[in-house]
């Protein structure tokens, strides 16, 4: 799997090309943390991430994925970027100081700019039965996120059921996600982002078509 290995990064970052991060780092990160927490507590609910970034790296990773990275990633969380998101490397190195994982299974956070080339989900760290929290959180940049149609989601944090339509995912994604559900409490927590929209699909959520 071709991830963005540490060796591929340039030795000296080109600082002039760097964009600034949060305008008000402490409060923006707190606000973003609360919104991610709310999204995880209410799976399938599409929320707007109302925090302001002064600058972004080039596409495909957008406003929400970079806000999540600046909020949650630091020196202790290896990051994996898919090949399409290579432009974000210097930005994340500068603002998060995080190490980069060369393989998906070494990453705590994985950012996927091109969901069509998403690696099979079981290639990411799924945790162990003793330590299920030692798993990866996936942040996937999708082309559309809408409530009220699409997948029927059930599980903790959802009253009865809710509907979430995610566009831009390969069809195999849902089969792979269904296979992971049997491994609970091991599994992957997934955040779908689209521009400044955010919706969560934690490992505890069940879905049907």
């Amino acid at each position: 799997m071709t991830g963005l290995a540490g060796t591929q990064r340039s030795g000296s970052a080109d600082f002039v090309r760097l964009e600034p991060g949060f305008i008000d780092p402490v409060h923006d990160a707190q606000a973003c943390f609360r919104m991610v927490l709310d999204a995880m507590a209410h799976p399938g609910h599409v929320a707007l991430l109302r925090v302001s970034l002064a600058g972004l790296p080039s596409a495909p990773l957008g406003h929400a994925s970079m806000s999540i990275a600046l909020t949650l990633c630091d020196i202790d969380t290896p990051i994996w970027l898919d090949a399409a998101s290579a432009e974000a490397t210097d930005y994340l190195t500068f603002h998060c100081g995080g190490p980069f994982a060369s393989e998906p299974d070494q990453a705590r956070f994985a950012f996927v700019g091109n969901p069509a080339a998403l690696p099979p989900l079981d290639m990411f760290a799924l945790g162990s039965d003793e330590y299920p929290e030692r798993s990866a959180t996936l942040v996937i940049e999708v082309s559309g996120l809408v409530n009220g149609s699409g997948m029927l989601l059930r599980g903790p944090g959802i009253r009865e059921a809710t509907r979430l339509a995610v566009t831009g995912l390969p069809t195999r994604f849902w089969d792979e996600r269904a296979a992971l559900a049997e491994l609970f409490p091991r599994g992957l927590d997934i955040l779908f982002v689209c521009g400044d929209k955010l919706a969560a699909l934690p490992r505890s959520t069940r879905f049907e078509f």
Binding site: V16, L18, P20, G21, A54
Partner: protein
Amino acid sequence: MAENCEIFLTRRQWLVALAKARVEELETAWGELADKPNYRLLRPAEAGLVMVRGRIGGTGKPFNVGEMTMTRAAIQLIDATGQARCTGFGHVAGRSARHAELVALFDALLQDPRRHDALATTLVAPLVARQHAAKSANAAKAMTSKVDFYTMVRGE
């Protein structure tokens, strides 16, 4: 860049001088700067802790002396077309956000060949001279209490 300068200063030298300067000195220099550049904060000033290490043991091995508070900032100069040009970094001891920002600003300006010579002469050179004089005066004061143990023979 640096080869064309009348006063040869390495970046390390000017960063040391700026970081050790008093914030009022830098504030005055910034206030007196004729054509102030546009700039943006690449990293707003943030305070943190750094571990200070030194060789203070008898064997010369590195030793964690302790943690100290440090503030850092990074700025980018913006040219007339709105493009970022030079990036400056400031790291200062203590919690003065403004000091870190000013160090970063002057660091960026000193990297600009058109501004380097003027700033090196009017700002950095006097700072270095003042800091050197203060250090010498302090050392001279300490020297008055130095004792030479001529008669002591170490039992080796």
